[in-house]
């Protein structure tokens, strides 16, 4: 059956020049369309234009016999495309330029598809383009297109090698599916067992990802007049046990300690007295400890964003900076997962005295704020009362929470406190920290994320870019205490999330959160699926591999062990398939038939091969006519074969006897003519 379906299939390159049929071309074009779609979305329009021209030209040539370009035109086109790519990106490598070049060459190759070899080459380039799409998109959403590309590519390869008419689409799809299904066990084994290296062998060129997310090592609230809300996920968290209350979900990111009156910056560890902090050892009574797993979206920064306050983590090379930022040694360039332990504490003990920078105030800036701080501190009597009074001021006076604050001038805090009085978390955190410092209390701004949303369909929390937040920490009595001034102005922001904190019209801008509940459910379901994909497919790294092998009985295998296990499994699967195929073939041909074929094969050397339509009697008569000396044994052998095959059900001994007779038959040498 299999052999029959593959009849007419020929290895590429084994035949002379011939024209591609329209059906073969249409399959190739469909493949090209599928594989270039992920690239064309981001590449400039002229690339798509060239592809369209090439496709139309090739189709016209097939249908209306338009002339295809000659060697010189093709060469010129190729050179021009390469130059155009070079001019556009100033390079011909890298993700954008490289994929543009690849897609263009694929389109131009369409113009020279004459032989089966050309068609096969188009399919192979197309597959390469398809894999290049992995560099852009690894999410579940890209999988259908990828699967379609693999399916159509395999089918197009089958079609490409056909000599005459094309395989009908339904038959072709069935055959392709069967071929691919054969590949699944091997692919699965290689996915699970191929040695995973802890670090990628090459780094993805990061084209402009930096600073796109909500995290940054600096902040200057006065420059932002409109904060775009994005519901893109920043990370997902799965808690072991019940999750903390929403108001306690502070995900600690960059800590900004240096302030020049306008801009807040992180203070690098280099140049500090103490370069690392140690996790808390003693917890106050009643502190709750949470264990969780975080799956981070790549943000190309080093912050691991633990729940405040981190106690432990399973990332080997991560460290706690002096300002208690949990940092990995490398930027998070791929989706990655880590496990951690945290205590949700409003304050934590810090044995070391704060850096001098946490007290620094640029005296030449924001004079009215500094003056206000002096007055209020004097009136309050104690540091704590003073800080409470500031929060009270935010709460009682006409301060507003908005995502579209007016621009602030050269004295941003003065402008905010006395003129505009509206802003978002950064404005409040910035003003609060400055007021604290002006009164001699060490203070810093902590940025990160606050809150998150439980996915009702699955047991995890999604934290989105729109949950980005800034709050303050002040140093009192040997403790860093968290003060969130935004909560004073808009408590809903902390208790219920961004959408709740904003007036209705603005809340609706949040693409998914503000829309209908049904749509929200679908979105959550999709996100849950995506999370599974991330967790089980994309995040499958050395740790998960080790865990899997550990469950199979290989504890902490070396790279060599892994390679061995992988090779043995893959070979076993291949051998199994080979055996199954051979067994099928043997079953298709019974031993009687095999012996007869052997006889025909031996006789063919003496005269000519048996024509398929020749009956045994006709063939042996022909051979006897050519070599009369064989008349005796051949007549009896043919009669025996006919009797066994056509005159009843032969017994096994009879078949074996026939086989023995065929093997024992002495034939004269081919050249000795009797």
């Amino acid at each position: 059956m299999k052999a029959r379906q593959l009849q007419g299939w020929r290895a590429p390159g084994t035949q002379g020049p011939e024209q591609s049929s329209v059906a073969q071309l249409l399959w190739l074009l469909l493949l090209v369309l599928i594989v270039s779609t992920p690239h064309l979305r981001t590449l400039p329009a002229w690339v798509s234009g060239i592809m369209l021209v090439a496709a139309v030209w090739r189709l016209g040539a097939a249908w209306n016999r338009w002339p295809l370009p000659g060697r010189i035109v093709r060469g010129t086109l190729t050179l021009a495309s390469a130059l155009a790519v070079g001019f556009t990106w100033r390079q011909i490598s890298g993700l954008e330029a490289g994929s543009a070049l690849l897609v263009l060459m694929l389109a131009l190759k369409l113009l020279e598809t004459h032989s089966a070899r050309d068609r096969a080459l188009v399919v192979l380039i197309a597959w390469f383009v398809l894999f290049a799409a992995f560099l852009r998109e690894q999410s579940l959403g890209g999988v259908p297109l990828l699967a379609a590309g693999v399916l159509v590519g395999t089918l197009a390869l089958l079609q490409a090698a056909r000599r005459r008419q094309a395989i009908p689409p339904a038959t072709g799809l069935l055959l392709t599916t069967r071929l691919l299904a054969h590949a699944v066990p091997l692919a699965l084994a290689l996915f699970l067992l191929f040695p995973r290296l802890p670090a990628p062998l090459w780094a993805l060129p990061s084209g402009g990802h930096n600073g796109r997310t909500g995290l940054s090592s600096q902040m200057s609230p006065g420059d932002i007049t409109s904060l775009a809300l994005s519901d893109a996920p920043a990370f997902r968290v799965r808690f072991e046990g019940p999750p903390p209350e929403r108001a306690q979900l502070y995900w600690r990111g960059p800590v900004l300690e240096s302030f020049d009156g306008r801009r807040w910056r992180t203070l690098p560890d280099a140049g500090r007295k103490h370069q690392h902090a140690v996790p808390l050892r003693q917890l106050p009574a009643g502190a709750r400890v949470h264990k969780y797993e975080i799956v981070l979206e790549p943000h190309h920064q080093r912050w691991l964003l633990p729940l405040e306050t981190p106690l432990g983590w399973d990332v080997a090379d991560a460290s706690l900076s002096a300002s208690r930022e949990l940092l990995s040694t490398r930027p998070i360039a791929a989706r990655s997962a880590w496990r951690g332990r945290s205590a949700t504490l409003p304050r934590f003990r810090e044995a070391r005295a704060p850096e001098a920078a946490t007290l620094a105030v640029n005296a030449s800036r924001n004079p009215r704020s500094l003056a206000l701080a002096g007055e209020m501190r004097a009136a309050a009597g104690s540091d704590r009362a003073y800080l409470r009074n500031i929060l009270g001021m935010f709460r009682q006076q006409a301060f507003y929470y908005t995502l579209e604050p007016p621009a602030l001038g050269d004295e941003p805090v003065d402008d905010f406190l006395f003129r505009t009085r509206s802003g978002f978390c950064e404005h409040y955190a910035s003003a609060f920290a400055l007021l604290a410092r002006a009164a001699g209390i060490p203070a810093r701004v902590v940025t990160g994320y606050q809150g998150g949303e439980m996915n009702p369909l699955a047991d995890y929390l999604i934290v989105r870019q729109s949950d980005a937040h800034a709050w303050t920490e002040v140093w009192l009595d040997g403790y860093w205490e968290r003060y969130d001034p935004t909560a004073a102005v808009a408590p809903e922001r902390v208790d219920a999330g961004m959408a709740a904190a904003l007036p209705g019209s603005v809340g609706a801008d949040l693409p998914l959160l503000g829309s209908s509940p049904w749509f929200g459910r679908v979105a959550f379901g999709w996100d849950a699926l995506n999370a599974q994909w991330d967790r089980w497919v994309l995040a499958f790294g050395p740790e998960q591999q080790n865990a899997l092998l550990g469950r199979l009985g290989f504890s902490s295998p070396s790279l060599r062990d892994l390679a061995l296990v992988c090779a043995v499994t893959a070979s076993t699967i291949l051998l199994l398939f080979t055996w199954l195929t051979l067994r099928d073939r043997a079953r298709e041909q019974d031993p009687l038939e095999q012996s007869w074929q052997l006889l025909c094969q031996r006789l063919s050397r003496l005269s000519r091969p048996r024509k398929p339509e020749e009956t045994p009697g006709e063939y042996s008569a022909m051979v006897i006519a050519a070599r009369p000396e064989l008349a005796g044994p051949l007549t009896s052998l043919t009669a025996l074969y006919l009797r066994l095959r056509y005159e009843g059900v032969p017994s096994r001994t009879e078949i074996l006897r026939f086989r023995r007779l065929v093997r024992q038959l002495r034939l004269p040498p081919a050249n000795a003519r009797g």
Binding site: E614, T615, P616, G617, L642, Y646, G648
Partner: protein, 322 residues
């Protein structure tokens, strides 16, 4: 099942031997009268044995009548000849009821069709009405006149002849009628040397009287029953089905073999295998009868290769033996 059949087949080795001898005898006897037509004689006898009817398409004077008479003579069967003409009525073939004065009742006078072997000469010269009277008799093995059914003798074997050339005033048999003939044969001119022998020798018709019957009708029916018992291997049925499938699916033909055609093919092959003394049917026997059984049932697509060349041969050359 297959084993059981095999056992019966093997048990009848004597019968097979007899059948082979009979086949050789018929070939030899009839071959004395009709020179150089061994294949056609064997096929005609096979057709008779299979219980089918034979259509011979050839020009006049090549020995069609002689073949029919010779077969009748060696088989010890009665023989009648009907010369078809354009003014022929059905009653001229099947007979009619005549009022008998003395007995004062109608009495059926059987027509020429009441014989074991009937030669319907130049069947295409008569009107379709007369043709269909004969064809009905062939199909039913009985005739009905005035509400009374009269069985035809057993075995009943019609050899119809028709001139292949289109002549004025003829009515060629349509495909649906052609399908009722198990085989169609052409006799063709004798080979040069044989024709010389024919010219030199005595009149072949005189030899007819010297032919002795070699089997009676009861023996013929026993052979027919034995043919039905022959072993059919799966490989052979695969081959037959491949042939039939090819005629139906190939672009060469507008009309492929009908299921009746396929059954006839197997039955004819069985009978030929029996005459060869084989306990099972070989593909050679299928090939030998294929052109005669299928040739007149296939309708080549106009303009295709099959319209020019012998279509049955084309099929045989295209279908591999499994």
């Amino acid at each position: 099942m297959a084993m059981a059949r095999n056992a019966t087949a093997l048990a009848n080795t004597d019968q097979l031997q007899q059948a082979r001898l009979l086949g050789e005898q018929v070939n030899r006897e009839v071959g004395q009268v009709i020179l150089g037509k061994q294949t056609e004689i064997e096929l005609a006898f096979t057709c008779l044995l299979a219980g089918g009817h034979l259509l011979i398409e050839d020009v006049p004077g090549v020995g069609k009548t002689l073949l029919a008479r010779a077969l009748a003579a060696v088989l010890g069967l009665s023989f009648r000849r009907i010369q078809f003409t354009s003014d022929m009525l059905p009653a001229d073939i099947i007979g009619m009821s005549v009022f008998e004065q003395e007995a004062a009742r109608f009495r059926f006078h059987p027509g020429p069709v009441f014989a074991h072997i009937v030669l319907a000469d130049e069947i295409n010269r008569s009107t379709p009405k007369a043709q269909s009277a004969l064809l009905e008799a062939m199909e039913e093995n009985q005739v009905t006149v005035d509400g009374e059914t009269h069985a035809l003798p057993v075995p009943f074997f019609v050899i119809a002849t028709q001139n292949p050339l289109h002549q004025a005033g003829t009515h060629p048999l349509p495909e649906s009628q052609l399908d009722r003939f198990l085989m169609r044969l052409g006799l063709g001119y004798p080979a040069e040397g044989l024709e010389r022998k024919l010219l030199r020798g005595e009149d072949r018709r005189l030899l007819l009287g010297e032919l002795k019957p070699v089997v009676d009708s009861a023996g013929l029916m026993a052979l027919r029953a034995a043919a039905r018992e022959l072993f059919l291997s799966d490989a052979l049925l695969d081959y037959v089905q491949a042939l039939v499938r090819y005629t139906r699916q190939s672009a060469l033909f507008e009309l492929g073999l009908s299921p009746r055609g396929a059954q006839d093919l197997v039955m004819a092959a069985r009978c030929l295998a029996l005459l060869h003394g084989h306990p099972g049917v070989h593909p050679d026997e299928v090939k030998a009868v294929f052109a005669a059984v299928a040739g007149h049932r296939l309708r080549p697509r106009p303009g295709s290769q099959a319209a020019v060349r012998d279509p049955a041969r084309l099929v045989l050359e295209s279908v591999p033996i499994p």
